[in-house]
């Protein structure tokens, strides 16, 4: 990631945070506003981060994945269904049901990844069309099953939506316990610890996503797997001539990508809110794709770009909280339709390349022919 892009991201994030601090100044101190905004940013950036990682793995291996949105949506639905089914029908305890839901979501994502791999690698369907098929299929499948199972006469759950077993809860990071002796009673020190604590006060998938960013970065750039993955995405013929099985590498990476999108889907129905509604992913899969491009196809770059989008979404959320203290001349800030445009407009600005062009893997989008 070059300095121009890094600077751009930094400036936009400062502006977004600045607006929130200014608006909320009468209600809470800047430090508290900033830390809670940071925490919200990280939380809402989670599906974007995971979706972007999905894109990075697929595209580094040479397969465009425009179906992240559909993979997320399918996973969100099946994760939720899995949790409910095990909880109500199989009579599992709360946590085993939730975990089953999580696993189901990841598997559902991987299955959609498999479908994308079959279409784009085996059948050599145009990869953008293949991804579009995934998206349309996801809407149809989840819409149909949602209606069939939960609504109307004769549906499997008798026309009512059963209670979900719940969602994943925040992980307690024992920073206070660790730092209390170290700080030795200094109030300033403890303030800092508290601030960090409130930023890290996240749920498991959010934390996992950040860990996965760094793991993915290491795997892609420092291991045999990564070298081969990048090779089949840059010059599959060259990889083939040194004995690398291009088709197998691409399949494996698209499956990994599907599973990551599945985890992103789990965020919506297992971690964030324990319910499902049609089309709930609302374009986040596509924004993930923009993050992949803006992040120059590197996991860390894509993560930073996801945080940018997350911050603009966090602004929207915070503005709803500060609704009553927004000055009348800034009234548009409380209109979520207006503020909600920021990530989409940012994406388009980024794609114009005026903030620095990025270079996609050379063979992305091209089916491999021997």
């Amino acid at each position: 990631m070059d300095w121009r892009r890094f600077g751009f991201i930094f400036i936009i994030i400062v502006i977004l945070f600045g607006v929130v601090v200014m608006v909320g100044i009468t209600k809470s101190s800047p430090i508290i506003t900033i830390t809670s905004m940071l925490a919200t940013t990280i939380a809402v950036a989670t599906p974007l981060t995971l979706g972007a990682l999905s894109g990075v793995f697929c595209e580094r291996a040479g397969v465009i994945n425009i179906g992240i949105e559909g993979m997320m949506l399918t996973a969100a639905f099946f994760g939720w269904l899995g949790a409910i089914y095990t909880f109500h029908v199989l009579g599992f305890e709360k946590w085993p049901s939730i975990l089953t839901g999580l696993v189901t979501a990841i598997l559902a994502g991987a299955m959609m990844g498999l479908l994308h791999a079959v279409l784009s690698i085996t059948y050599k369907v145009d990869q953008i069309i293949g991804g579009t098929v995934i998206n349309i299929l996801a809407v149809g499948l989840t819409g149909f099953l949602n209606r069939q199972l939960f609504f109307g006469k004769g549906s499997a759950f008798g026309g009512t939506i059963p209670n979900s077993p719940g969602n994943l809860l925040n992980i307690h990071v024992p920073l206070t316990e660790i730092f209390t002796p170290i700080c030795g009673g200094s109030a300033n020190c403890m303030d800092i610890v508290d601030a960090i604590n409130s930023v890290l006060d996240q749920r498991p998938i959010a934390i996992t996503a950040i860990v996965l960013v760094f793991v993915s970065h290491y795997v892609l750039f420092n291991t045999r797997w990564g070298l081969r993955t990048r090779a089949v995405g840059e010059h599959p013929k060259a990889a083939d001539t040194v004995g690398i099985n291009v088709v197998r590498m691409r399949y494996a990476n698209v499956l990994i990508g599907g599973a990551l999108a599945g985890l992103a889907g789990a965020y919506f129905t297992i971690e964030s809110v324990p319910s499902f509604e049609p089309l709930l992913t609302n374009g986040r899969g596509f924004i993930s794709l923009a993050a992949v491009i803006f992040g120059n196809w590197s996991p860390i770059g894509a993560w930073v770009a996801s945080l940018l989008f997350g911050a603009s979404q966090a602004l929207n959320i915070k503005m709803q909280l500060f609704r009553d203290v927004i000055p009348p001349e800034w009234a548009f800030l409380q209109n979520s339709y207006v503020v909600g445009l920021i990530p989409y407009i940012l994406t388009m600005i980024i794609l114009t390349g005026i903030i620095g062009r990025t270079t996609p893997p050379a063979a992305v989008g091209v089916p491999y022919e021997k």
Partner: protein, 375 residues
Amino acid sequence: MKAETQADSVTKGFARSALDAMLIPSLSILTAVILGGIIIVMVRGNPFVAYFGLVQGSFGSASALSETAVWATPYIFAGLAVALAFKGGLFNIGAEGQLALGATTAALIGYALPIWLGIDLPMIVHLPLVIIMGAAAGAFWAAIVGYLKAYTGGHEVINTIMMNYIALNSISFLLNGPMKDPNPNNVIARTPLIAESAHITPIFEGLRVHWGFVLALLAAYLVWWMLNKTTLGFEIRTVGSNPDAAKYAGINVKRIIILTMALSGMLAGLAGTFEVTGLNYRHELGFSIGYGFDAIAIALLGKSHPLGVVLASILFAAMRNGATRMQFLTQMPVDLISMLQALILLLVAADAIVRFIYRIKSQGERVVLTRGWGG
């Protein structure tokens, strides 16, 4: 190389090539119908009753036929929009936003213009103005993406998606605010009714099918004629097939990209316009959701040929229209149709699967849109 036999097959081939072109889509539909039947059985329904309901509901009576045509009208326009862009090598995923914007603009001109001017406009002035403005709104929205593609290389796939969200958010804002129907009883995000001078009349008394359907068929013919018989069509197809060769041939590639997107957006805008002027007489939030994806499916099913688009639109319209009857007879949710359509699309896109099932040899031609992301 036997020159005679090859040339023969070319001259006698038109009817056969049309049949060949329809073979894979037809088999895809057949396969999807069978798979759909299996799904219906799995959820304990009767596929025969369900499909009977579907056909009866879409073709079983004059009013059923009329409703099918009503559904088909926006499908044809939006499907043509996507198909035209495909011919120009562009993937317009933004028909949804262009359509919604066209509808909103048509509604605005339809209800507000007489108020602004303070006079009642004659239909001969008002209706064409509404149609032109609706078309222009769609064209403008798409042309922005075309401009970005031509001058910055920003990929049209992501940009049209982003423009969808921008359009839908903006329209939500408008329909909940400045353009909201001021009737005190209204709680829905919708515009007021348009003036009667902006209505397109039904073709038959008592049926809802309106002249927009005829105009849609006419548009399909015009798109075919433009693409295949005119210099502009030659330029669009050349840019779509090989932009480098187009530049070499002296074609202004940037201009053609913008123009192709604008024409595509115009058709999508018309889809929305006729929904307002011919059917609903207002624009309501949420009514247009899903048209964009349906349009892509229709363009792919119709192999981007205007006649194919018309046939695919009628099929999709029939399914949407018959679904209510099907639900009435079998309790199958209407959403089954979305599943069926997704299956059809899947099979059309991956025609190798269909070829494999029915043992048909490949023609060796493949749709190629992806030219990387252009960073």
